[in-house]
Symmetry: C2
Subunit: 240 residues, 2 copies
Amino acid sequence: MPPVQALLFDVFGTVVDWRSGIAREAAPFLARHGIGAMDAHAFADAWRARYQPAMEAVRSGARPFTRLDTLHRENLESLLREAGADPDAIPETELEALNRAWHRLDPWPDSVAGLLRLKQRFIIAPLSNGNVALLLNMAKRAGLPWDAILGAEVAQAYKPRPEAYLRTAEILGLPPGACMLVAAHNDDLAAARRCGLATAFVPRPAEYGPGQTKDLTPAEAWDLVAPDFGALADALGCPA
Amino acid sequence: MPPVQALLFDVFGTVVDWRSGIAREAAPFLARHGIGAMDAHAFADAWRARYQPAMEAVRSGARPFTRLDTLHRENLESLLREAGADPDAIPETELEALNRAWHRLDPWPDSVAGLLRLKQRFIIAPLSNGNVALLLNMAKRAGLPWDAILGAEVAQAYKPRPEAYLRTAEILGLPPGACMLVAAHNDDLAAARRCGLATAFVPRPAEYGPGQTKDLTPAEAWDLVAPDFGALADALGCPA
């Protein structure tokens, strides 16, 4: 295996805490519109639950590549209808502002400091299903020091399609084995490994809230397992 | 016109000094291979002269989108042949190393400090015909603090095709008027203006060496004209 030159990061769950961020912004919205039956964290979970099915329509070829901001917005409207609200009766600016909550997620406490260390020795970039504008706005707000913004929109393919991993390596001018995916999700790592990428598992046991049961432990013998990005930087020999 | 949110930069000539960088790396190569008839700066100029014709084949649709690393390599081989050398007799690693000189260009003295100031208030990204790996490797080496790496490869269109400018704005989720192209080249700015982008002209009178005659002054009334990136940051109200 060639030495790793680029670290590619899953973002939602691995770098940032989507559940708390979405709940924080959904709470006043739900209160304002009288959608009180749904707890803000349950709302975040329900919005996120529509994520994979929406991408599946693109992965299967049923619809052309559509960026995640658009899928999030469609999912928001269908979720509001399911919760008994009429999105057409809510001002466009409010819907758009809530949809942009995905651009304003907070990193886990170790993310920024770890990335700054890793950046000294490696190319660091997201390999996320988030679109470029979403990832860029998130990075500007949170101080995520990416070298480039890569992922599904640049590759025009959603993970775990092999094209998402292989085109990202190819754009970097690197063989897949010179790239390492860092993710909190075993299925993402498994897909990356099938494409020849190195793999690092960083579990995020609070991603899905206090009752999380999945992705608590490595499902395969990943190349690295680290409890946070600081430990990952240690394992990869990055100076503190 | 909406307020500008993103500053998009031409790179070769505007941010970095391609002529000195290519000449620096070409000199020992030319000496080693006995291609002594050609001065290293003339070699850099001749290599660069093949840049627009090579992209024109893509712009016209005569060939599919091909990244600049590949065009640079093809142009290097044809230039060597024209100079009386046989590229097939030169080790692949040497050709590839010289081709990667485009990844190792030095910024103008004001570039990094100016970008760091501009980054505090704006999204900053290249909108270059360079490919992602080239621009990323250049940025890592030179300390160019881009928020994202955009341009021809991401847009799948070479400047001055309108798609290069319009798709870049669209990927950022911004109307064209919220983007400003910063360039040392009047023709690039003219194409950006036709697409609705704001324009800033930063002349680089040494780009083509001591005898430069073009792009010394603004050809139109651009939105901003500044002698360097520090003055551009001043004009845009960025704290020092």
